[in-house]
Symmetry: C2
Subunit: 409 residues, 2 copies
């Protein structure tokens, strides 16, 4: 089989959602955790059992809902439901937090007539306040699964995000069609460290667990782990790849003829969601894309790209449309093992602002124009080797400070 | 001698400055680098040769003035003048930068009839723009050394700082009196990494170079290296201890009867200047003091303290007077090798907000009151061992963003 030639086509589905893959259903309600009657409780359901690959936050503080999910993922790999609340992280609240997770899983299992161990839970929002568990229990009763309201689920998982982050792609291989869908939330406490936000990815394919683990980790390292909003890693972050593992489906593994098509589709989903998270950072007005070219190795390329998008001084300079190459080279100086100014060139958009150790101040007006775009691309060529990397961030604005100094008061 | 008992008293000198120690003179002018006729060129002069211990930035990008100074410090240890310009960092400008440093040293040496290699240079301000060297040469001509205007020197080295940072102490041991003075600047690009700002410390004592190097490094690690404003390390930062090494003075070394008094005085100066830098961070309204108690070792204590004051979410919560223990424990979770929530307690001011894994929400109103103070102290007890550490930072405000997005435009 694997020697045969398989052509594939990938299309982005118009209005595609997490529930676009066959067999997935969703629901969302406003159960009262958030103010203003906003959706704050979302349920994702699969009509056949799913295998889940997941990556969790590297913060040593872990949310209690996350602990529940990590624990049951270790014990079995047979899931039918994922319930997510926003507005409260169920974190740093003492032992009551895990008890609340248990109550949520029980309520969902009764509602859907499944086992509590088939229910994954995620919580995101304020840390250090107990969940309003009665509101959540009542909310669960009101959830009504549907095929066509995946966007409500995407909406219910948001916190300070300003918009949904969702996408689905359709992959055709000869006569077969399969779908991958994704939904994510970001906005604050976003820093590059394994699994830095909530991201759920669904597929109606049956992906071999071992291979799914491998490619999810690889692709996360190049996408979700390459974004930064505010250098803080949340205790609740997770990325999940949810694939239907029912017995009547063929298992897709690394050697399968559909594997490269699936991996390509998964990359599109993850890159799209990662960039959407960065672009919608709290208070952000622009996406910053930092490209490192011709680095001596991949780690240097990645660290340098992340250093650029993490620098507060670069974030504020993008906000102010100030093409200040000094701040960029300072960020590199804080990261590179060695800095050879004479070899470095820097572009903002397509405009050269620094070349071979010398700022090109004559280009300032053109560079300011390039910073008017919604996406500001900073390209740095180190001229040391062949490695390259891209990271994504956002500008830092007065609005970010406003949001985060008024979060609970 | 060293077995004898020597009592000492340390007094802070009213209106003391960098030029308070005997034999030091200073001058400052507005040479036109900064707008609005602000002082931007300062000269410090000693009437007898000085030995200098210095610590330089760890950023791999180094300012050209800093390179000049580091270079001559390696070649000799016999200095009479330090010239500092603010408004322009003389950094990332290509080879012209070192040429400009040479011209500055030459101009100062001619003015004072000393050797260029007896002139240290520091520059701070915008990166990536050539120094207006003619303005500086004209400014040097106008400098008039005086005994009593050390505050003008302190003022001339400032960038976005809102006030002078200066202090002098008088140390009495039996019938002897000696003086240590200090001046520093901070405000932006301040992050804990060896030598993260400009700080000059003078004394009329003759301190043995080897011992001066040792204690300056030790004390810097506990003071200047424990502050953070915006997680960015500037390419021009330096800390200098300048002591008069003329042949007619006794050398103070570790075994000298005045050594502990001198070390105590130096600590007072460095701690004061470090806290002043943190308190006057760009846009800041408050000093944040993070105390870690009962950590298992000193590195864990220091890293945890720095993690707390570096967290943007803690900076914004202090700005908003929001006693959010969740953000504090999240910052710890990003730093501690292991997090044992059940053992941790957290106080804001004297108010307990988190104890043994549980937020004390009943104390919120009291904690909000504690956050009204000019200095907000966050004390974290890990209950793991005997190590402790303190770090200092400031809140993050809309004003910080405003300052840094309008820096050059």
């Amino acid at each position: 089989m694997s020697n045969q030639f398989y052509e594939h086509k990938i299309n982005i589905i118009k209005d595609g959602t997490i529930a676009s893959p066959n067999g997935f259903y969703s629901s969302a309600v406003a159960c009262g955790i958030k103010k203003n009657d906003s959706l704050d409780l979302g349920l994702l359901y699969s009509d056949s059992p799913c295998s889940i690959s997941a990556l969790f936050t590297q913060n040593k503080l872990n949310g209690e809902s996350l602990k529940w999910t990590r624990d049951i993922l270790q014990k079995n790999n047979n899931f039918k439901a994922i319930i997510v609340n926003s507005g409260n992280a169920n974190t740093a609240v003492g032992n009551i937090g895990l008890e609340h997770a248990r109550i949520i899983a029980d309520s969902v299992s009764k509602k859907l007539t499944i086992n509590p161990s088939e229910v994954c839970i995620a919580s995101t929002g304020i840390i250090g306040i107990e969940l309003p568990i009665e509101k959540i229990k009542n909310g669960i009763k009101k959830l009504q699964l549907q095929k066509n309201n995946g966007s409500d689920f995407s909406n219910a998982i948001l916190t300070t995000d300003t918009r949904n982050k969702e996408i689905a792609v359709e992959i055709q291989i000869n006569d077969e069609v399969f779908i991958i869908g994704g939904a994510a939330k970001g906005a604050g406490m976003i820093h590059p460290n394994l699994a830095t936000m909530l991201a759920f990815i669904t597929t109606d394919l049956n992906i071999e667990k071992k291979w799914a683990d491998k490619i999810l980790s690889e692709i996360t390292n190049d996408t979700f782990n390459m974004i930064d909003i505010d250098m803080d890693t949340s205790p609740c972050d997770m990325v999940m790849l949810i694939s239907q593992s029912s017995a009547n489906k063929n298992i897709i593994n690394e050697g399968h003829y559909a594997s490269s098509a699936f991996k390509e589709g998964l990359y599109i989903i993850c890159e799209f969601l990662a960039k959407e998270i960065a672009r919608d950072g709290e208070g952000a007005t622009k996406l910053i894309e930092a490209k490192i070219e011709s680095a001596s190795d991949i780690n240097i390329a990645k660290n340098s790209a992340r250093s650029v998008i993490s620098s507060i001084l670069i974030k504020t300079m993008v906000k102010g449309k100030d093409p200040n190459c000094g701040r960029i080279i300072t960020a590199l100086g804080n990261t590179l093992p060695q800095l050879n100014e004479q070899k470095i060139s820097i572009k903002i958009g397509e405009i050269i602002v620094y070349e071979k150790g010398i700022p090109i101040t004559n280009n300032s007006e053109l560079a300011i124009s390039a910073m008017n775009e919604d996406t500001v691309t900073i390209t740095i060529s180190l001229h040391e080797g062949n490695a390259s990397a891209i990271a994504w961030g956002c500008d830092l604005t007065e609005e970010y400070v406003k949001i985060n100094s008024e979060m609970t008061t």
